[in-house]
Symmetry: C3
Subunit: 446 residues, 3 copies
């Protein structure tokens, strides 16, 4: 697939950002995530804010801010075994400060490795239990010799905040579509720099649309506690305004795009995903589950029950590199990010338009001829007839009559396209033309 | 199939009327349709009225009244090529007045023929674009020689009305069932003299019923603009009172009866049609579509969304003679009209009775024995047991108990017959007997 | 299957009661049923009451009380042919008093036998038509010789009552589960001493439960007129309070347990039975029908429409002994009664708990760790992990998250177990643990 100019720009932008973001020592609070959000804010107009440490957030209390300046484990012979200067995965995230000598036996409970992936360094966190530890490859661990080890972790906890960021693209209506991803993982590529980078790519695509029907809300946060904090501040607003939402995660690996349903299962975003699959588009469907996933677990908790689905390619648990050092640019490609931007943008174009719509002349059929709305060869392009097929005016007329008849507020374009036996993308030009002709009105408009 | 006396009478009446109506120069306004309605009114007590030319009717404006006294096209040698004295299909319906000489080349854009049916004269109209034209067989057209042609059309437009007609048969309730057909096509048999003639046959059958539960409304109008005008005058009334409606069209050709669903798809009339099919009665089902059909497209527009289905045999588009001179008595038979009357009457008998019904002793089972309602061999006939089968009292008792248990206002007889594993026609005698016995009450009654 | 101690006690109790109850001359009124209820009251704390003869009960009037002291038919040679001292099935139940001589020919219309079961004595009643008669085996009947027969029936009708009995086991909530059976049949085992005896067994099991969520109502009555009388007195109360109900009948024969749906078909008790079948438990399902069955026909009449199903093993009509002298301990076993008690108790344990439940921390996921609710090997038993399998903490966590996410008042445990891909019995320990941990609350509680 050859890139067009837009795709070339996206590729360059995302590649550069990736290389800046990957090495930072991120966590759910602290300098790493704060700096990462500022870097993202250079590329899109993010508003950065937060919730103070120690705040009661639903069933949780926000943790103190963690900062780690250095962390090093040296062996009996003085050789460096783990150093976050090499890879910040070596330290258990949220480790407390330590300066201590231990025997190998005393050290072992603080070490983490993966016997089934002996060359990979795992990613381990301990946000809510005070602890410390180092992560290393299993081969390296097996080679450790008895003796005294020196642990030096220069880290502390202080009052600070859980940082959050968002920005908006306005539309005709104040009804909203949410795009959310998370930026707390350090030095992991697919899970999770891919989500924030695709979110950035989508921001620029949607900014360029000639018209948006919805207001689009883009959110970046640390996973779980971050979305809880975001809901703490903006949950009521989301419940009042949101038509649909999408969490972006694991979008840079191989394989086709997949959609995890919202808890509602029949929300418009769920139905559109099912429609795509029914129309043969390469989208795999996954059922909603509260038992694994990302921030949609918070958005879809029963008190909120927001219509938030999730897009991923090769997701958590489905690839060796999940939560370890194999999740690098060797696995995740910038090409896959651009493809994700392409596919999700196409999905959002339909989601934005899908309705419902209201026929403004609902008593009997409108007199199309009088209004210049009878399709013919001269107006073929305005009805979405593709230029490389023979114009079939009868087919267009059937779509027009089907859209008009079912635009009663109870049917959205998914239902109408199903009635017309075609895809939503096939009826969109008809809808636009009838709207321009004064016969249709979006029920979203304010 | 040998006719009974009722069928003989129907056949004679419809045959005579057909021969009187076929030759008239009908259109959506003017003398032809006015005279046709007066002829129909000799056979049933029609109230004839109309909507004045130039009236705003929903998205439409009623057209001026068209009258055409003569129309003739003569060739270079003076020979008559088309003359409405031979067939009124020769003139494009709603042609403007013309007296003019043209070359064959100038004439061609005004001629209409059917290359794939070279002996047929097509039926063409131009109600809302001022135009004129002649229709002829393709063979005749190919034989036309160069030279000067003379067009003489003595027609004019004047202020008048779109004519409408209706009549009623009262019933126990003021809830209504609508029977509607259209009478604007000139010299076409199946499409459309069959509909009005079957409507007439049904009127006389239903008039003879000992008891009607509904008020039946019979409507005749010109297609599309006529039903819009009828809805303009009576739409609110229909929305307030109608339980079901049927458009009658193309009922004189070969093939089995078919039913096109209303837009609601689960209206009682739709469900009864599906029940007939499920019970093996020869009724084909067609889905609702707003993209082709007759006046149900107006009744089922989203602003009205009336529960109006449509009955047809060989319908528009399914036979060569559709909208051309092949649609004559060679294709349409009076026998098929009588059969349509028979079948639709049987359908209406069930539709009229289908409910819902309310059990007047709903607390526990009623004591049937005390009320003389326990079925036995002496009362077999009153429960609808057919005389040529062995009486099965247990089967009748099961129907009684099923009708009583489910007559709660939420189940109609279609649902109840399904529960009882039989057809609606099998439970009708049980319902009547229980009504006579004081245990059931129609919820329609006023 | 070896009995445990509880089962041994049940067996002994039911066997003793069976032998006391079987020989009594029961009917829908009179000394036999009154004495039977008093015997039952020795084994459980029944409150016995009644509705006076001649009372208007919905569409019925309660019959006079019938008492029969003796009934004997002697032949031409003075030999005794039928005597209720031998079997009380010999007399048509509710026969009027007679002392009369007749020829065999005059006697025949008063005799009842079963040609297809020539050794069985049928069970015949005539509650609402004054009549008398004797029942005997068909072989005995064929051997009757011409001559004069002497009929002596010492029976009378008097003002009395239709007797009823009930008792309660209180629970946390005032919401109720009904267990109902009937005790009017004389000297018939499966149909119907099995139902009352299983009801008694269940009473003692449920009494021993450490905690009941519902109030359980146990009802015994004569069939049909008895449940009508019970509804006459307590119907409004049942409509206000009942979550589910079960009629017990024919529970002592061979074959697996079966469940007849309530009229609602989707009541929680119906859904639980379907869930059991879906989970492979040996429960056959039967559709609701008002045309045959027991007291659920009255509970499920449209005026009440109570959520009452019915449990049976080999039911009315499915075995030779139905309503004749073959229905004895040769067919019905005490072992089958105990098995029915076991199975129905297990069903009631789930029915009592099935919900709905409300998540008390519905905004986001609760922080399980802080609350000590993260499952691990130490707490395995409290989460219902069986001791003979390897503890799978991930599986338990998935059940916890699924229960929390769907406990929104709209999903009961059947729906939640389906979401979790397991049986209701698998999620019950999770629910109890979360309730103890302050995260779940039964919506039944008052």
């Amino acid at each position: 697939m050859a890139y067009d100019m837009q795709q070339q720009d996206d590729h360059a932008r995302l590649d550069t950002l990736y290389d800046r973001l990957f090495p930072l020592m991120r966590s759910i609070t602290g300098d790493g995530i704060e700096q990462s959000l500022r870097i993202m804010a250079e590329a899109m107009p993010l508003d950065i804010f937060g919730v103070a440490s120690g705040t009661k957030v639903f069933d949780w209390e926000t943790p103190p801010q963690w900062n780690c300046r250095s962390a090093c484990l040296t062996g009996p012979d003085g050789a460096v075994i783990c150093d976050i200067g090499q890879s910040n995965l070596h330290l258990v995230n949220y480790s407390e400060g330590v300066d201590r000598e231990l025997t190998l036996e005393e050290l072992q409970p603080h070490l983490h490795s993966l016997p089934h992936l002996p060359d990979a360094v795992p990613y381990v966190t301990s946000y809510y239990n005070r602890a410390w530890g180092f992560c290393l490859s299993h081969n390296q661990r097996l080679a450790l010799k008895p003796g005294m080890y020196h642990v030096r972790i220069d880290a502390d906890f202080s009052s600070g905040r859980v940082p959050l960021a968002h920005t908006f693209l306005d539309g005709d209506s104040t009804r909203e579509i949410l795009i959310s991803s998370y930026l707390c993982h350090p030095s992991l590529a697919n899970n999770e720099l891919s989500g924030p980078l695709v979110l950035l790519g989508l921001y620029h695509r949607l900014k360029a649309w000639p018209r948006r029907r919805h207001r689009f809300r883009f959110v970046l946060n640390p996973e779980t506690i971050g979305s809880l904090c975001y809901l703490h501040l903006h949950g009521e607003e989301l419940m009042a305004r949101m038509d649909a939402g999408l969490v972006l995660t694991c979008l840079g690996g191989p394989g086709s795009l997949s959609y995890k349903s919202s808890r509602r299962e029949t929300a418009i975003v769920d139905r559109l995903a099912r429609h795509w699959q029914g129309q043969g588009q390469p989208l795999r469907l996954r059922a909603f589950t509260p038992t694994s996933g990302s921030d949609e677990r918070q958005y879809c908790s029963p008190g909120f029950n927001l219509p938030v689905g999730q897009f991923a390619r090769c997701a958590y648990g489905d690839y060796d590199g999940y939560h370890n050092s194999l999740d690098s640019k060797d696995f995740m490609t910038i090409e896959a990010l651009v493809q994700s931007v392409d596919e999700i943008e196409a999905f959002l174009k339909e989601l934005d338009m899908v309705g419902p719509w209201t026929n403004l002349a609902p008593y009997g059929e409108p007199q199309l001829g009088r209004r210049g709305l009878y399709p013919n060869i001269n107006s073929a392009a305005t009805w979405g007839a593709s230029s490389d097929e023979v114009f079939d005016g009868r087919k267009i007329l059937e779509r027009i009559l089907t859209v008009l008849n079912y635009s009663d507020g109870a049917h959205d374009l998914i239902a109408i396209a199903d009635k017309a036996g075609c895809a939503v993308r096939d009826v969109l030009p008809v809808v636009t033309r009838l709207e321009d002709g004064g016969l249709l009105k979006s029920t979203l408009e304010t």
